[in-house]
Amino acid sequence: MVVDVDKLSDAELRTKLLEFGFPVMPITGTTRKVMAKKLKMLLENKGKIGDGAGRRSMGKYSSEEDSDVEIVSVKKKENRRATMAAPVMQPPPPASSPGRSRKSTRLNDVSEIQVRNSSPKKELKTSSYTSTTTTTRTKTFRPTQDEFDTGSDSESDLVTNNYRSSPTKSENVLGGSEDYFTRDASPKNLSSRSMDISYGGGSSQPASSSRYNSPSLASDYANDRLNQIRNRLSLGVPSSYEKPTSSYASTLDKEETPFLSNFTRRLSALSSTQKADDYKSDIIKEHDTNGSTSLYARSQLGSYRSAASRPAASPYGFRVGQPQSSSTSHWSQGNAFIKNNVVSFAVLAGAALFFIFLAIAYLGMRSDTSVIPSDAVVPYCIPHDPSSKKGVNCLLKEDAPDAFNLLAIVRRELHRRAIDANCNGQSYRRMHMTEEDIVKFCLANFHTKVDKVKHDLTNLEILIFNNANWGLTVLNLDEDRDTVTENDIARDMEQVIFNKDLKNIVALIQLKPDLPWTCTFYNGIKVTVTASLAVIGLTAVLYCTKWLYNRYSQNQSRQHKELTQMVERILEILQQASGLEDGRGDEENGFVVINHVRDMILPVADRKRKETLWKKAMRFINENESRVRTEIQEVKGESFEVWRWIGSSNLSTSGSPPGSPITSGPASWQGQAFETDAGAVNSLPCSPTTCLKVRGITEEGGGASKARLDEAREAVLSKCAHRCRILHCQADQSTGCVYLKCATTGDAAVAYRNLHGWWYAGHLVTVKYLRLERYMQRFPNSPSGGPPFLKSQTPAAD
């Protein structure tokens, strides 16, 4: 099957690719490598998965099989012949040899069964079949195809006419198969061919006839096996092995014909023998057809082997004749199922065994705790040894079994107690057993004596000290109590004996009991729940604290705000009072009774509730407000504590400084920021031009409304129009400035001094001199001389 792709010629490469249904392209020097690689890949893939191309070419065969099956079920001899001829007539070359054509019909008999039994097997078989055809094709035996065809035809004629098997006809038949053999015409085979003929003519006939009725199926089968193995082992088959091959071929031909003609009559008698022969000849023919088709042969062998080992009551022939009978089909179906899944079952069984072993091992481990461990260290007393003291560090050999028995009892009880204490919530029950307890327990449950138990107990304690891995501990208790601590653990036997002398209590305990998993689980859950509850509680506490702190700080800030508001209102009231008094010019009465202030601020309903706030405000004013003086005045004949405002009235406590913008109220000139009189630093000694540009009247950047511009212009005029002669005044929207043109430079100087460095509505006004030509550029229509001069409607006072 392995084809060296690299050594193929271009044309062969093309052909091969075409077989795989691959688009053909020119094989040139540059494309050859790529195509060869592709072909290799296809060849590799084909073995693994049913290749698309293989499937396509198989379509013809499968359809052929179907038709065969139908025809066979009709059981017509003529039809049978037709089917025998049919594969030869089929265009696809693989079925072009007589051996092949016969084989394909036999194959169909078999495959009819297998179609029903297991379709996967059929697919496997057919695919391997295809692979053989492809290789056969590449050997280019096309020229011999015609010869085979005729051979096949003549052969089938012979077979049908002379199925009574006269010797001469049989020779002819053999001739047909001999033709077939010439295809392989290697020098080695040439000699074997002649031998074949002689063999077939002479001895094969009696042999086959004897085998015809031979009941010895087993020997035949063994023979076949042998041949099969030999054929498989050696591709260059020795000629002696070829001989039986041809004889089988002739046998097949003979036996096939009775099967066809006297089908129902001879069915049962023939079936077993015929089956074996068929099977054998099939295999061998397959092998002859192509040396590398052992796969097919093997799969065939497998299926036949199972069939051959069956009782003879269910022959193939019968199945061919009556495809409706289903008992054998069931049988082979079950058989095939088991055979197909043998590996799966084995794996499953292995896994099951493994887990069973694990379970047993685990159970053994568990039960180990309650039996006497074999690896226990038992310090036996050595006679006449001064270091071994009986009852202190060693025990007599005959006492050991009793001590172990006691150990088993005590350990079980201790374990029970430990579980009770740890798991069942019965913490009041103590985990340990004092010697007294043990004695009582043993007397209650077993028929023993007190002395015997005590004796065994002493030995048991020695054993416990020697076997730390038991998990048992000896305790020295100075009094009978339920709880034990680390300090109570006895270190050695001598200490125990010493304590016994002191009338102390000796007890046994299992400190780290092997708890059942449910207990561990519950304990774990308990711990988890406790821990999570603690965490939740802690989180809740923290959250509450934070919330309370937030509340507190919010409250504080709110109170502070209220306090500030209240103080501001008080100051406002005091200012109003002082202002009112000022207006009347009565300095002496410019005070307000404190309680009246409170009554003015707080509504009647709130007075009680806000008393603390009010007191805080009072204290705040007394301590932190220097402009308010607290004094006692007599109002209407009664002494009151009063507040007097002693600060200046035009400075509002909450008001803005002079520089801050005033959004409400009429804009006005608010005073001079710096000196601009003659001789001052900020004033020029003489004015260069008559034109001025006044900045800062409106907001910077321009875009002011028309009303605002008019207002600015009016403000400028009101400031200086009555002091100097102004020819032209215009507010410019784009710059937000007011332009001014005076009659003379002297007038410009006056205007400059009156505007520059003044506050107007919270803005500082600045003035610059402007060259006349610039001014004229901007305002070409401005008058160059006066009168008339511009006047303000409301001249400013300053």
Partner: protein, 90 residues
């Protein structure tokens, strides 16, 4: 191929004429030298190989890998480039 490179657009924009092989998308200096060493010095020679392989993407990529050890993206770019050019001008 959501977007194409500038080189791809340049190549596909006009007939290839006597363009060197490095004008193909996906063929840089190194691959270009290897291709020239293999005898594929002009873009039209590569086009010829492309056409001989019947515009089969798989085979062309395989060929690119063999000839100039181009990686998957480079050969894909080159194939796309030639394929688009063919759709436009062939």
């Amino acid at each position: 191929m959501s977007s194409t490179s500038q080189k791809h657009r340049n190549f596909v924009a006009e007939p290839m004429g006597e363009k060197p092989v490095t004008d193909l998308a996906g063929i840089g200096g190194v691959l270009g030298e290897r291709l020239i060493a293999a005898g594929f010095d002009k873009a039209y020679v590569v086009l010829g190989q492309f056409l001989v392989l019947k515009k089969n993407q798989e085979l062309f990529k395989e060929w690119m890998k063999d000839t100039c050890s181009a990686n998957s993206k480079q050969s894909m770019d080159c194939w796309q480039c030639l394929n688009d050019w063919c759709e436009e001008f062939l």
